[in-house]
Amino acid sequence: MSVPDSTSSPAIAPREYEVYSGDDLGTNVLEVSMGPQHPSTHGVFRMNVTLDGETVVKLKPVFGYLHRNHEKLGEGMTYLGSMPYTDRLDYFCSMTNNWAYALTAEKLAGIAVPERAEYIRVIMAELTRLQNHASLMGFLTNDLGASGTPLLYAMREREHILDLFEWVSGARMMCNYMRFGGVRNDLPEGWLEQCKKVVDAFPAFLDEFDALLTGNEIIQARCQNVGILPRDLAINASITGPCLRASGVNYDIRKVDKYGIYDRFNFQVPLGEVGDCYDRFMLRLLEMRESVKILKQALSQIPASGPTLDAKSRNFRPKPGEAYGRIESPKGELGFYLISDGGPKPYRYRIRPPSFINLTVLEDMCLGQKIADTVIILGSIDIVLGEVDR
């Protein structure tokens, strides 16, 4: 066995690497179709994105993959028959959808709601807001790459609220609980106590979530100054809900219209300053804290007993006319527009979907951003496809 002689073997010459300056490196325009099957589009949403390198130069949303003909079906059935369908609009927030529809029908027919029912409605709506915003924050961090863990925290809290819904209405998600002139049934025994427990425990979850997420460096780096929505554009494009308030517009229909009994509660409307993804993210956290405040007041003020339903919802035939009713759903202004011709079915049944209209500015927010940021911007708008396409 011969040992190679190190002195005689030729030395390996250091290679000359050519360092590429990148000056003549051009980018190509590339068209990407994101969706309808894409894990970050929150359902069957599709965006046709035109990219220059990684930068978005054009973005066209494509809708309709969940167009379930809700309006056409609503015109073919009785007023009450549409109530279960409203559950399936924004399937996170069936209670607020019920309320918006009931509110409009009550406006059309001039029905009053008993006081206890009003309180129950407020409690249900604010619980819905809690679980919607909590899941949204989970999904948004999921989009940011925190694969699943914050979502599991949020889903754990959501289950407690869904238990309350199931107890009162029989269904976890599709509650179908409100009726014209009140709510379907009174609260079961022990429900209010359990609700108090859930509401009292909720701020601890918020603090935990806050401590885990809002100071997180990755969340700050990826959300701050991304997807800025200017105030004037937000107003002109009819943006509503947390997206509008994150841009600094003080417009909350709970305060403006004071529908139901919202004038009895002491709560504040959080506002953003910059209008970027981080503001929209933080605003939901602050709104949840305000919702807890409303819930605590409502739970202590609710009358111990009383009627919960004016038995008028069957055989419901409003006089000819039209009505537009709206509420502040967790996504924004959810409106219903009903035209009655005096029959048992609405002549025109129209839903004003907040998620759909909030997407108007998606292109404006995404232009000039990187493609990875479109996912976060979309996530921070908070859309639900059942409502976008109806």
């Binding site: 056409k72 943006i239 006319g321």
Partner: protein
Amino acid sequence: MIDIAPILARFPSLAHDPAANALIVPAHLALEVARYLRDNPAYLLDYASNVTGVDYLATEKKSKVKQADGVYKEIVTKTEAGMEVVYHLYSMHLGHGPLVLKQRTSREKPVVTSLTPVYRGAEFQEREVFDLFGIHFDGHPDLRRILMWDEFKDYPMRKDYIAPDDFQYEPTPHGDVLAEAQKYYGLPEEKK
């Protein structure tokens, strides 16, 4: 409630729909009226909340009304066919609303003026009305189908739309469904 009398005085060619407290705007004035409502400090209706279409078929309704002398007389009330586009305007600055704007058009050649140049929020909703009702919006920047696919030819939200013949088999078909099933599958008549 917004007092609409000054608007009617400013634009005499507007009509008023008392049932809905709505302003009916002719197509050539729509943009001007919308700009006026948005920019006039008395209204500042800067927020177009809801945009939708309504399809009215011609109807004839017969009703018997008892006269003073006790004789019933048949009265026929007719309504004309037509289409409407309804806008619900609110003000975010002043917090009031809604003011209802309506544009009327015919069913045969439905054309109205798009308010998207004034209210960006009407963009998708007008596209939806175009898609489902077939109403054309003059001046819309991007008028394409939005919910249905591009090859689709019908306007499904119109009252005379007939859905495709794709009924589903039912375990116990009866009535119309049975008749349709037999047509669809070419099955023999039911046993007597």
